[in-house]
Symmetry: C2
Subunit: 201 residues, 2 copies
């Protein structure tokens, strides 16, 4: 593309490095910022810098936090005996938005992936096991991706956690709500038949 | 949405003010920045600030420019007797990318819109007319939106430009290339019949 200005070109280049923003959207964003009040650009730039340099992670569950320990971990009204293990903070947000879970969390920081060279020691697994040893944990719920790597990680964790005599469960996998059987992939459909539940009478 | 941190909330809020980015995409962008090297965020913030505060507009055609006069206006190889009138710099880029036009440009900065309170004096119309009076202009091509406001502006400009004895043309409107008649709106189809051209033999 021919840019009318090096400043525009550089801004478009930087914006289009963001996920799911192509060069056309980036140009639209840049042009929109040029039309709007300069304070909008300043506030955006400041918010991003501030975020990147001042972000903290909870010492207990490793989720993104405003202080050394996050609000969820500090909340005494939450069930202290259940820990839900997830890959990243975004998953905590997703589960919180369902309003179906009132226990604690533990963010692994990823999943075991031999191909990418990520082993158990690269994840927050040791701190999870020591939380289980020190706190009164009765159940650990694994809420990991339903991928090969997610399953490997779940298998690894389940073994370690059961050694400490704690119950391990995994979130249900199956046909999504509102989903039509016709469009479900064979793996999901097969698994949902194997793990069928008796209907409440 | 429940945010794990005020820093994340503020960043998501600012990012989702950008065009065509909703709160979910904004969160994805923010999380991606947190994963990437801090230098990426710094470069992005710097590029946006620099763009917003140091951008210049060409004194002649009012397009975005790196200097007082833009490269297109400075390029003596371009046809100096034709001016293509557009609404915004983005339209200049779009036409440049076609490689079909070698004349000069003039950016109006918008279109006449009584509803939004934009009159001829709010646009770069006076400077267009003085360019036509001072330079050796033979033809002015109007490349404005095919909306009510665009048509009003074209009508207004055509009258003023013809008073100076200069030819006025407008870009062709019709069925887009590769477009199927079935899916064309009635207005476009009707107009394309009215403005039909004899086929080259």
């Amino acid at each position: 593309m021919n840019f009318p200005s090096k400043l525009v070109e550089r801004a478009v280049e930087q914006v289009s490095r963001l996920p799911s923003i192509g060069p056309k959207s980036a140009l639209r964003i840049v042009m929109q910022l040029l039309k709007a009040d300069p304070s909008q650009t300043d506030e955006l730039a400041e918010a991003l810098r501030d975020l990147r340099h001042n972000i903290q992670y909870c010492q207990k569950c490793h989720a993104i936090s405003d202080g050394p320990v996050c609000n969820t971990c500090l909340d005494v009204r939450r069930e202290q005996s259940v820990i839900c293990v997830v890959e990243q903070t975004r998953d905590v947000l997703a589960i919180e938005n369902t309003n179906q879970y009132k226990g604690l969390y533990h963010v692994l920081g990823g999943v075991i992936s031999p191909i990418e060279g990520i082993g158990p020691s690269d994840l927050y697994i040791a701190s999870l096991l020591s939380r289980i040893a020190q706190e009164e944990v009765k159940e650990v719920i694994l809420a990991l991706s339903t991928t090969m790597e997610g399953d490997t990680t779940a298998f690894y964790l389940a073994k370690k956690i059961r050694e400490q005599g704690v119950k391990v469960s995994t979130i249900a996998r199956g046909i999504p709500m509102g989903g039509e059987l016709e469009y479900a992939d064979e793996l999901t459909l097969g698994r949902s038949i194997m793990t069928r539940r008796e209907l409440d009478s």
